[in-house]
Amino acid sequence: MTPMTKMPLISAVLGMVATVAVGANHVDPAVTAAIKSRQSHMQLFAFNLGTLGGMAQGKTEYDAEKAQVAASNLAALSSVDFSPYFVVGSSNADVSETRALPAIWEDPEGVLAALAQLQGATAEMADSAGGGLEGLQAAMSALGGACGACHQAYRAPYN
C-alpha cells in the first residue's frame, strides 16, 4: 500500500472515531427539546395541583374561585395531545436526562388508558372543586391515583 492509497483508509478510521466520540455526549436537540417540554408540562400540573392540594390539606384556606381556576387548568392540561413530547429515542434507555421508561413506547394502549384515567380525574375535579372543600378533597384522591398509575408503570426512580 502506497502512502497515497493509505489516506482514505486513515480518513475513514478518523471519521469513525470522531462519530463514536460525538455519539457518546451528543443528544439530538429535538430529543432534548421534547424532554424539556414534557417535564415543563408536568411542572404545570404540579403548580395547579399545589393550589388544590394546599386547600385539601388545610394548609391554605378554601377559595372556590381559585380552586375552580386550578381545576379547570388541570382539565385543560390533561386534554393536550402528549404524543409530540414522546419522540422515539427519548426514553431513559436512550438518554440520561429523563426517567421515562421504554414501556411508554412498548405499551401505547396502556399509556392511553392511563391518560384516560387522568382526564376522567381532572374532569371530576373541575366539576367539584368550585362547589366546596369536601368535593375538592374527594376528587383529590382520584387525581392522586391517576398520577400514581402512570408513574408506577412508566417512570423509573431517580438514579
Binding site: 404540579a46 395541583l49 399545589g50 426517567r99 383529590m140 392522586g144 398520577c147 398509575a149
Partner: protein
Amino acid sequence: MPFAAWSALLAALTLLVMIALRPAPLPEDLFDQLTGDRSRGRLVFAASGCSSCHSAPEAKPGSAPVLSGGRGFKSPFGTFYAPNVSPGPSGLGFWTDVEIADAILNGVGRGSTHLYPAFPYTAYTHMSQQDAVDLIAYLRTLPPSPAANKSHDIGFPFNIRLGVGAWKLLYLREGWVLDNATSPELERGRYLVEALGHCGECHTPRNFLGALDTSRWLGGAPNPAGEGTIPNITSGGLAWSEDEITTFLKTGFTPTFDSAGGEMVKVIAGLSQLPQSDLEAIAAYLKAVPPID
C-alpha cells in the same frame, strides 16, 4: 485414623449440620387461645403490602385482591416467583393457620422446607401473633385463584434449601434495628416500618449474601426491581417534615406535588388505608433512625 473412621466422622458431622439447619416447626396449638378478626386483618394486610408481590401482575386496583402470585423477582441469585397465596386449593387452601403463620413468621413452608428470604419473613418475624391470626383470617376471605405455582429459577448452590437454614442462623434476628424506641408512637412506627411494612427490603442496601446492611438502615439502595435508586429515607437523605411524610404516605403527593412512582404506588395504596396516627408514627420513626449520608 483409618479411612472408615474419617468417613464415619464426616457422616456424623454432616448429619449434625443437617439437623442444626433443619426447620423447626411452630407448635400446632400455638393459636388455640387466639381468634382471628378479619376486619383488623385487612389493615394488617394493607400495612404488610402482601398484594404488592402476590397479586396477579394484571390485577385491577380497587377490586378484592386475587393473590394468584406469578410475579418474578430478579436477584443476583436467580429469579424468584411469588407463589399463589389465595385461599383456593392451588394456594393456601389446605394449609392450617399455624402452617401459614410458620411461613410468615419463620420462613418455614409446608412440609418443613426453608423458604427463600425474597419473602420478607426477616421483617414479618417481628409480627405479633394476634396480627398474624387476624391477617390469616382476612386472607381466607379473599377470592381463590386456580393459578399453578411457578418454580424459582435459581442456580447452584442457592437451589439447596438447607443453605437457607445457614443464612437464617446469620440473618433471621429477634432484635429491632432501632433498639431505643422511647415512646409508644415510636414503638408503633418501628413495628410498622421494621415488621409489617418491611420498608428496609427496598430502602436498605444488601451485602453479598443478600442480607440487609443494617449499618446503612433505610439509607437508600439500588432498585431491586430494575434501574435507578430507591431513595434514602433517613433524615440524612429526606428533608421532608413529619407532616409532609404523613401526607405523602396518605396521598402519594410529595411536598412539591410530584407523585409517588414505581413500587411505592402500591405501598401507598396499602398505607393510605391505615389510621392517620399510624402514618404519623411512621414519620416519627423515620426521624428517629440514625441519619445516613
